[in-house]
Amino acid sequence: MSRAPYLVSSAGALDESSRAAAEGAARSSYGRLVAFLSARTRDVAGAEDALADAFEAALREWPITGVPQSPQAWLLTVARRKLVDAARRRRSGEAVADTLQVIDGIVSEPAVDDSLPDDRLALMFACTHPAIEASARAPLMLQTLLGFDAATIASAFLVSPATMGQRLVRAKAKIRQAGIPLTVPERGELPDRLAAVLAATYAAFTEGWADAAGASVRRRNLVDEGLWLARLLASLLPTEPEALGLLALMLYAQARRPARRDAAGDYVPLALQDSRLWDRALLDEAEALLHLASTLARPGRYQLEAAVQSAHVARRISHRTDWPAIVGLYDALWHITASPVVAINRAVALAEAGDAAAGLAALDALTAEPRLRDYQPYWAARASLLSRTGRLDEAREAYRLAIGLATDEAVRKYLQGCLLKL
């Protein structure tokens, strides 16, 4: 390993201020430049390598010369030179001539910051193309658009860095070899393809949330990056209600973040959260987005999930939660997704609405679902509903299983507290 090729790497010993300046410029340019170059060469890995060299040069020179007036043009010029070098090194006759021609075309296009075409949306569609294995899609977006290295992404997705590295290399090779286009799909294809982009964006965000304690800096970053991707999507697709719905959903979750831990760092479930700790600005933004999405009159799963969040946060004003309304929203979600996770939430909402037995019966219907056998929230929900219906021995057993399956220390502690109270 000669150098860390990506921007956000665990290694790094540069002095703080020049690094911050260069990283700031990099953050706003990296994805745009990767997208711009790979949309023309269809070689994502090549574009990343060339840009890694360009950013390395920037980190070396900018602290001395100052950040240039047009950082993107500067980076693009250097990256283009690197692409030419790399193409010459490969020396495979005709292919080199073709590549050089493409690269020549790149520099003849305007390289002024504001007029550089924004191909990031096209890159997002390529990263989440059906020909790319599903487990590589969110990681690929994080790497190509935001410059995360494989090790950081691997930590968030709980796989080994080597596995994640291979997954990413394979996916980029597939784009090049299979000729996956870097284009925004036609209208007819758009809904299905957009669903994949939204799913990968949400995956990036929720993997960041998996570390609920926010103890891991790497994962906390992923939450911000997931939000950043969702903001980008919503700004590029302002008339797609699901893109707006997804951003709203993430903003609701982010707004409640400060209330998810008490002063001692212990886990606080939603129903017990102090609504004064919720971030009002983020909630207002989420509500406005959800409203805007609803005026487009095309409901979908992210809008419905955001609507559930909206119903929960309404108690900051009404001081009560409208559980029957939440059950109704989960019913609608279940019809769209048939997701066992939705079914769990619906069961809990049923119990909260006053019918614990019905909630428990709804959970019983899920026992055949193999994906839930090791799913901690299922056992925690089951334990809670069993204890409410007075089946204490079974409740204790379910709590013990939930504790054994928990990965978050604060959640484990909370569940142990619940078990002790029985």
Binding site: L158, T163, R373, R400, I403, G404, A406, T407, E409
Partner: protein, 115 residues
């Protein structure tokens, strides 16, 4: 595939724990073990006594050398292990993340060489 989960902790920090801190941790380990049994992946595991009780043996040139203490002096010490049988590394990593030791120290995941 079988994997060994090696649990490394700072012994000094463990020693400093009060019984009130200790009992939820033991309960968490018990719950973790039960969960693995229920999932059908558990292949055994034990907690080890502290490294102060360790003795290391080496035979060099026909001479037996017996030393007091662990074989390596590290910041974190081996405190216990599990053997699990799961389909692949990703599954092994998700069990390692659930191990209470992962929240305090570190869990090393090592595939066991098939004989």
């Amino acid at each position: 595939m079988k994997y060994l989960l090696l649990i490394a902790n700072e012994e000094a920090a463990m020693k400093a724990m009060t019984p009130a801190d200790m009992s939820p941790m033991i309960a968490a380990y018990t719950a973790f073990s039960e969960a693995m049994v229920k999932a059908g992946v558990m292949g055994g595991g034990e907690r080890l006594q502290p490294t102060a009780t360790a003795t290391t043996v080496r035979v060099r040139g026909g001479k037996t050398e017996v030393l007091d203490g662990p074989y390596a002096d590290t910041k974190e010490q081996l405190g216990g292990y599990y053997v699990i049988d799961v389909p692949d590394l990703d599954a092994a990593l998700s069990w390692a993340a659930r191990c209470p030791g992962a929240s305090h120290g570190a869990v090393e995941v090592r595939p066991i060489q098939a004989m």
